[in-house]
Amino acid sequence: MQNIGAFGFAIGSRLVTAIVQLWVIATLVFSLMYIMPGDPVLMLLGPDSNPTPEAIAATRAQLGLDQPVLSQYVKWLGGAMQGNLGTSLDGYPVAQYIGNGVFKTLELAFAAILVASLIGVPLGIAAALNRGRFLDGLLTSVATLGISVPVYILGSLLILGLSLKLGWLPASGYTNMSRSVAMHFEKLILPAITLGFGLAASIARMTRSSMLEILGKDFVRSLRARGMSERRIVWRHVLRNAAIPIVTIIGLQLGNLMGGTVLVEALFNWPGLSTLLVTAVSNRNYPLVQGAILTIAALFILINLCVDLFYTLLDPRIRRKRA
């Protein structure tokens, strides 16, 4: 019981830290946005429409942007502490935007990571087991392609082939599960593969390296001496021992997917957080930027927390060091 308490305490303190982290991020973002060039009101009123100074001033006042930065900040922070992310410049609650985007982002991210891990880990293992041989070179080359081919080229090719030429899959968009489940998943496939392929390459490289590290250890020899099959040795023992760097990189990628998939979201018109963020930034929709970044950061921190917990599950020696 007492240990569950200690474990809970560890998580609890991380969560408290997370709140502090989010506050730091929020403050940073807040101050950054007031140094950044560009005028939110101009973007809101439509820069092409030559808004009158009165209209600009009126809008500014209405949005509270004419107040001192500090009081804006305090007001925003007050709201945020009550879970209210404020109002987007167009009047909608930021939370509504975020709520719309966040699940789509998570869905795509997890699908992509799944694809990436399913491809990357076996590739990395195969390369490690065949180190220095032809297969290793081949897999390295494939992985390199995956890393260096920009996502939109791969994505465009997939769209061209699977969608425009063969018509197997829809080219873009998002369909709500409530409208059509099949359609929903059909539309998930291409973006997930596109994202996953590049990530798979990194995972494969890290897996290869990490596997090699472990394959040289003495205990692998004793596993063999016990008559264990290579497959079991590799998947159960070596991979588990090699998992920390792999989990690290997967965690990093997953985190990056929270806000860094602009290109793929654009390519497939996936209405996720990245697009939301980029649009908000380009419109200087500060409350929305603020909210999007906080959400992304919160997800990121959560992922990192999970990864850190995972370390201690994976390696009891780390647990002891930290206990």
């Binding site: 019981m1 569950i4 205990f219 016990r226 008559g227 099959s229 021992n241 009891p316 020696r317």
Partner: protein, 567 residues
């Protein structure tokens, strides 16, 4: 009693690829293992025993090459057998107990998981059945509190406990052939006896053949039916045990028997094996290079004093499971006079290694004081502690683990010199130390994985002695060494003590070695010191029942075979 031939090694030759050249490790070795017998394999450290047995399992390291010969098991040549054929044999028909138990266990699975997995690989018992069998096995190897061991990770066990886990796994499936590579190095004599009995039983019950690799001639003498002797990769001879001891044929064997510590009176120089001027292998007692007389045991100032040292570990199988407390060191108080040697003996898992770590403050004691010349280490800050460690050295029980795999032996041995003396004279010091522990000069450029178990142990010893620290803690420091190299190392320790006033805390389960080196003895059981006193007194007139049991269990060879000493 002799059964049919199960495992035949025929004309086996093995070489290592190093830096583009081939170095021969084993030349034309032949051995036959018969069912129901124990074949002892003895030989110098680094002579190729481990490599030979790995070859028999088809598990040679990647840079080893078989240049000739066969290993026949039931009509198949294991060196050429396919992967799946080998897999079916390994563990089930032929199993192996590895020399370095710590390094041979998967660090991230609990021991229980690993034993159960080993059983389930070959037997259809179901998890529950396998767990029951695992517990029974642990019981058999005299493991205290088997359920706790099952739930512990390897790093949470003592050296001897790990070794017993390995043994349990090796015998789990009642194999036909057991290759035991130094299976008892970390076990105290009572447990050792138990393990040997277990092997014997398997011998008798299912006709298992055992290849027992050990440097402990006492063990060989007690349990082996036949003995093979290997020297520098060449098989020297193979004969019945009695014959080997009474009438050894090869010069090496004669020298080996002559070098046993139990042959010599305590605290004298031990004979080592060398080639004399004519190239003959002989056992000689070389005089010490130093002129100072042996130290006086009594009257010296106290160098190390421990007061009420206590350490408790908390065990957790998963971060969420309930913790269990293990009191590894319980209110230990000890004093070692300067220039003397304290032999610390005790049951495996009684807390000896923990104690040595506590003295170095590698782990923090729960309570108690560590006084070195009156200075309490327990209160020192990081910088002061760092300074204090210049005068202390610890030879880890697990030599391979304590060697950085990415450094060459030169850098490893020179580490203390680099740390405390800015690397002054490092090459000269390394060369001298290598020579002193009997390693060739070329060893300096190699990496730890290229060495045999005994060689690694010598690297660690060399490193500990690099700066002649005031206090040296040897945790089973000579357990993997054959008698000759052991003698060389013990002589070295002795000489250094005389020359530089070193003080030793010498942890060992080998009573003859302890007897030989110690001025005083402390006996430990379950984390407590149960008896301590001057060496003769403890050995001659043990007061504590546990001490008596220990002494009774020592395999006797010297006294039974006085003739051997004359050879």
């Amino acid at each position: 009693m002799a059964g049919h031939d199960v495992l035949k090694i025929e004309d086996l030759s093995i070489s290592f690829r190093t830096e583009g050249t081939l170095r021969s490790a084993i030349r034309n070795a032949s051995l036959t293992l018969r069912s129901g017998e124990i074949l002892g394999l003895v030989g110098e450290s680094g002579s190729g025993k481990t490599i030979l047995s790995l070859a028999a399992m088809g598990l040679l390291p990647p840079n080893a090459m078989v240049t000739g010969g066969r290993v026949m098991f039931e009509g198949t040549d294991l060196l050429r057998a396919g992967a799946s054929a080998l897999r079916r044999l390994r563990g089930k028909r032929i199993s192996m107990i590895f020399q370095d138990p710590m390094a041979s266990l998967d660090p991230i699975f609990t021991c229980g998981d690993q034993i159960v997995e080993a059983i389930l690989l070959h037997e259809k018992l179901g998890r529950r059945g396998a767990t029951a069998r695992a517990l029974a096995l642990l019981e058999k190897v005299r493991m205290p509190d088997p359920p706790r061991i099952m739930g512990s990770y390897p790093h949470e066990l003592s050296g001897g406990q790990c070794q017993r886990v390995m043994i349990a796994m090796a015998v789990a499936c009642n194999p036909d052939v057991i290759i035991a590579d130094e299976p008892t190095t970390a076990l105290d004599v009572t447990v050792q006896k138990q393990v040997l009995t277990l092997l014997r039983e398997l011998n008798a019950e299912i006709g298992a053949a055992v290849l027992l690799i050990t440097h402990d001639l006492g063990v060989i003498h007690e349990v082996a039916d036949r003995v093979a002797v290997i020297y520098h990769g060449d098989m020297m001879e193979e004969a019945r045990t009695a014959q080997i001891f009474s009438a050894p044929k090869s010069a090496y064997t004669r020298a080996l028997i002559a070098s046993m510590p139990s042959m010599s009176p305590p605290r004298t120089r031990l004979p080592v094996i060398e080639r004399d001027a004519k190239g003959e292998i002989v056992s000689v007692v070389k005089p010490s290079a130093t002129v100072r007389a042996a130290p006086a045991v009594t009257g010296g100032a106290t160098l190390l004093e421990l007061r009420g040292l206590t350490k408790t570990y908390t065990l957790q199988a998963t971060p969420l499971s309930a913790g269990r407390e293990v009191r590894a060191v319980d209110d230990v108080s000890l004093a070692i006079p300067a220039r003397s040697t304290l032999g610390l003996v005790g049951e495996s898992g009684c807390g000896k290694s923990t104690l040595s770590r506590l003295v170095m403050r590698l782990i923090e004691p729960d309570s108690g004081d560590i006084l070195i010349e009156g200075q309490n280490l327990a209160g020192l800050d990081v910088a002061a502690m760092r300074q204090a460690r210049r005068d202390m050295a610890l030879v880890f029980q697990n030599p391979y683990g304590s060697l950085n795999p990415r450094e060459t032996v030169r850098d490893l041995i020179a580490a203390p010199v680099d740390i405390h003396r800015g690397g002054k004279d490092r090459d000269a010091i390394v060369a001298r130390l290598l020579d002193a522990v009997g390693l060739p000069k070329e060893a300096a450029g190699k990496y730890p994985h290229e060495f045999s178990g005994g060689q690694r142990q010598r690297i660690v010893i060399a490193r500990a002695l690099a700066l002649q620290p005031r206090l040296v803690i040897c945790d089973e420091a000579v357990s993997a060494l054959d008698v000759s190299v052991q003698a060389q190392v013990l002589n070295l320790l002795h000489d250094l003590q005389a020359e530089f006033d070193l003080t030793y805390l010498f942890i060992s389960h080998d009573m003859s070695v302890v007897r030989h080196v110690s001025d005083s003895i402390a006996v430990m059981q379950k984390g407590r010191i149960v008896e301590s006193g001057p060496a003769e007194e403890v050995f001659e007139r043990p007061r504590n029942p546990y001490t008596r049991t220990l002494l009774d269990a020592v395999p006797q060879v010297g006294t039974m075979q006085p003739a051997a000493a004359e050879a």
